[in-house]
Symmetry: D3
Subunit: 253 residues, 6 copies
């Protein structure tokens, strides 16, 4: 059984996309195909709600482009931006790296913390903890001074900052597992675990194995209500690929 | 003191935009200017997360276009789509019709319910109740069979459906106030109050008076952390108006 | 349209009552009449539950005295003492300064803190955050060493204490907006904002503009259940003004 | 060891006060003295927030009158009106019938419901469940058409109404224990248990045995912060017994 | 009326069992018989979930052995291990020391903290706070370096450690009452109260008086659903006393 | 890479154990070994807290017996009995079928319900939803009249009962996914999905793929605090395999 998984890095930083593909491929079965892409449109990183909202249309486009060719999709930004909308536009399971890392963490320790990027993203990160439903298990969200791009480009500085944040989470907040709260941190878990007394979850890897697992179950997204296909309707200013159903052409055609 | 308020109807249905302007103008002071617009891009109505995410860039564009010319902005869709992002791109207060109607309702009764559109929007509506923080005060979200466009175009049917939903909310859920959960329902509160034993909140009107009130306080949005201006960065595929700060041109230029 | 608002300072400190009237008048429209009074009975300040319960009968008396002559009432103590009872004895909207300041704060920042009086009032203050429903949005309640009377009489010391409390709320608790948690702090927001990086909400001013706004909506308090008029019954030991309906005289007549 | 307990019926209906004394005396040890009184002032029953606030000063007066002569006080209205203030004015434990019945119920079943008076009291009753902290254990509050006075005066009708409410709580809400939510229902538990498959808690009796128990522990109320003695201050319009400490005479002397 | 209460110390440390009996006897009425036992099987102390699960069968055996000879049972380990199962195997009330201490604390202060043993037990302790339902009232769980056995055997060191934990709970967490979070701490409350400004609850004593109180109410555990007698069925590997009803012999006979 | 997973059916019904092995094997990769066992001791089914506590020692024994020979363990009873203790006695990940099914459900729909056995198990089931942390996502727990053994032995009746429970969950509670709340229901998901409009999660299968996924991540259980190895100590009445560390022999040797 060959499983095909497409991960979408919601930002346009290709180095991060490459890293996501490498991490996902490394942790999935040999006969699973794991590819990662970036949308054509959107910001180079997601650090604000503004970035979030400008990134999501591109993510949706990437799912619609290949909705029938993959068994599952991975939303590869901690925050799982637009994941509810993603689930509306495909029957294939859509797995977020934020939720996945929290599920794994919740099975390995009594509490977990999220070590993540710059403080302004805290509200965005905490909201994803809440919409996943696991705020009672989350000891803390610990921010650093890292931008998203720095997590990818300055690996040593990223490790140092994440170590400090994780140590405070463990000592002051009682964290028993650390979730790495950015796709750019993919692959840093091993180095961090050498210096920390707790498991460190690579969120991209977590999503990759969970996506594979859900495919093995043979399940698809529920389309009975919330995640049913969006109602066909006129949509101005977007390319044809965004048109749902056989409605009149969208406004910009 | 002339107060200038710009309401943005996140969908592209002009009849609804006109109604929003009429309702907002009617309830604000005589010397307040209240205008309503629709974005150039986006769906004709917001009924799914997909619609939500395709609508928000246009809303952000409308704020950025006039960020310095208005004293406050109103986000005129129940769900307050992208309101966190809106608050990042202007110092002027941004007031959502969902939150406003709940605040007013919370001052007039011990509990409130939201009477709103088709069932698939329930999760979207409930999430806004939760992100506002008032789920403990909300007796229920009662959906109808109305699409957004029908709330505007078939007023008699809308009143009938909302009456039935409201009566069930009052009798079965203990609601003491009803919030009308769609901007298209603007102006229906009077007719509903004639038939119901409880206050009915026109959410657009509620946002209009609260926006006016916050302007009278002379306050602006906090830019210390979450709602600070987004970091300047390259953003592909969006017009120049979306560029923050004096960074390099966005990718599609 | 002339709007008439009566604010009731639940304590008997006249200087505070004067301040409330000045602040409320300053922020409302020119053609709005905003008056403030103190009850004849009750403590000079509310700092304990004991004070709270001895103050409320006087507040209720002030509402009943003028129930038909004002368009709205403001309960002007952070804690909104007896506000549920106030809502039972008049159809006019009753707006509390605590709830109002939280609503405004919740529209201006991702979280807010309350900077307030002596530590023993913390439970009283926190309970009002909870009964309003907004504890999930409240980063902290930060107490000072200020008594209620000191907030009014020693303005420089009050500013110093509130600055320190606010700074700790911002730095340690992540507050993005500060609510001033006592009516005696009315008018201090400007001076505090000069020294702090976040908006500071004058709770009296917030209640004034929200009361005005609710009146513009033309809404009255829900009388369907919780806030319906109290059942007529014999009440011993209270003057005749407390008698509800045309029942037998209250016991002390 | 003789234990002396004073129960205060916050309303002025003497038949209810007599019933409280009888029930409390019946369940406490032989050498415990259990007396019940009504205040001189206040309504004949508590069914609204208005009644609540007019009743509490009289309750506080009854505690202050005998603060040194009893080992514990019982607040004998379901809602425990003003109990926080009661705890401020005496070191002796103050035990509420609402909280007591919930504690006992929580030890006898996995969930409990409260069967109580007219629907308008629901908010008042539910708030006491919440301030006690046990809302997660409470399956429901089931109201009847009974006024407080009817619970005392029309015992057969009261039993019928409570049976119906309890049956619905058991069958529809999953209640495993019933708390009788009014002091006037004291003594009805036996008759109800004959017809119901679950334990029925007489809330007055529950408070009586818990008050006795806390006295046996030799504990007094914490005065470190919230329940410390109220600050001495001028209080207008109340008799001298309300004056705290050796301050200047209260304003009406 | 002679009341007979059997306390079960879930661990096998006899010195602790003796202490439990002494404390329980001291606080109950003269004509109440209060005995304490340890099970034949199980660990010498409960500090992990592993200990918890190995201790509970012995506790259940002790209840079944004497189910008809006592009026109430006390589960004498903070955590109330297996208390739901205990309630299934007897009609007599089963009272836990954890829940009892929290109920008493909740009547004496606005918040309480638990001062307890080694940090690894935190999750176990906090879960009992949550299953009781009182997490909103609990300011903190403060762990020490004390093992369970040390609380009993090194009383001076125990007092020192508990003093430090309690002081931090009071100063940093706002605790107004301290619950002693281990049966081995029975009898230390007096010495701690001499050095602390708040009431300190001996949890064993609290359970003793509450058990006595519930017996005085004449109530038994609800058997309508959750706490009904377990279904008769084959149970392998346990002595005959564990067999419910007249089923076939359990597997190891 | 060969992954070895041992599932423990906490009850002693071998037909159910066989079913668990078949389901787990079917959904995992070809080169994964998935075996299922029952403990030597314990009840034939878990339907009460009593059953739960008598089953767990046997589960712990099965883990300790093979702690070094498997890469992961599955706790195969909905309720995940004793899973915290399981995590203390092995470094290998321990995955519960309850938590796994909820995680998968949470990725496929906006809400889920649990369709499960007899009503007396509701509290046990709901508590696992709560300790996992996902109660805000759980629309309802819907009980049937099925005993655990009947789910395995009378498959047609089980399907009928689960269909009815699921339909009510979907229509009345808004469930968008159904979790099958008993290991005995393994393999029924396909038949149920044919008749229902939503995904149905076979909880055993969900645990199997998640266990495999966590092994692929190379992670082990956190031993920093809660799930560290239990302290070595004397344990009476249990075989030697229960002895932790190189302490003195347990008491029954």
């Amino acid at each position: 059984m060959t499983i095909r998984i497409k991960a979408i890095n919601p930002n346009t930083t290709e180095a991060m996309t490459d890293n996501i593909e490498r991490v996902g491929d490394e942790h999935t079965s040999d006969d699973t195909e794991f590819v990662a892409v970036s949308p054509d449109s959107g910001p180079i990183s997601i650090e604000s709600y503004y970035d979030d909202y400008l990134a999501v249309p591109g993510v949706l486009e990437e799912i619609r482009r290949d909705a029938d060719e993959f068994d599952a999709f991975v939303n590869a930004c901690w925050g799982d931006p637009g994941i509810d909308a993603c689930r509306e536009v495909t029957d294939a399971p859509v797995v977020g790296i934020a939720e996945s890392s929290m599920y794994v963490a919740n099975m390995l320790g009594a509490t977990f913390s999220v070590a993540t990027i710059i403080p302004r993203a805290r509200d965005f990160i905490e909201r994803r903890v809440e919409t996943t439903g696991l705020e009672s298990q989350c000891a803390s969200v610990r921010c650093t001074d890292l931008t998203v791009v720095e997590t990818e480009e300055t690996r040593d500085a990223a490790v140092d900052a994440l170590l400090e944040a994780s140590e405070r989470a463990i000592e002051e907040d009682g964290a028993e597992v650390i979730c790495l709260g950015c796709a750019g941190m993919g692959g840093l878990d091993g180095e961090l675990e050498e210096a920390l007394p707790v498991p460190v979850i690579d969120s991209v890897a977590a999503a990759a194995v969970l996506a594979e697992g859900v495919v093995r179950l043979g399940k698809t997204t529920s389309d009975v209500l919330t995640y049913g296909s969006p109602e066909p309707k006129a949509i101005a200013g977007y390319p044809d690929i965004f048109r749902i159903g056989s409605t009149e052409p969208s406004a910009d055609e």
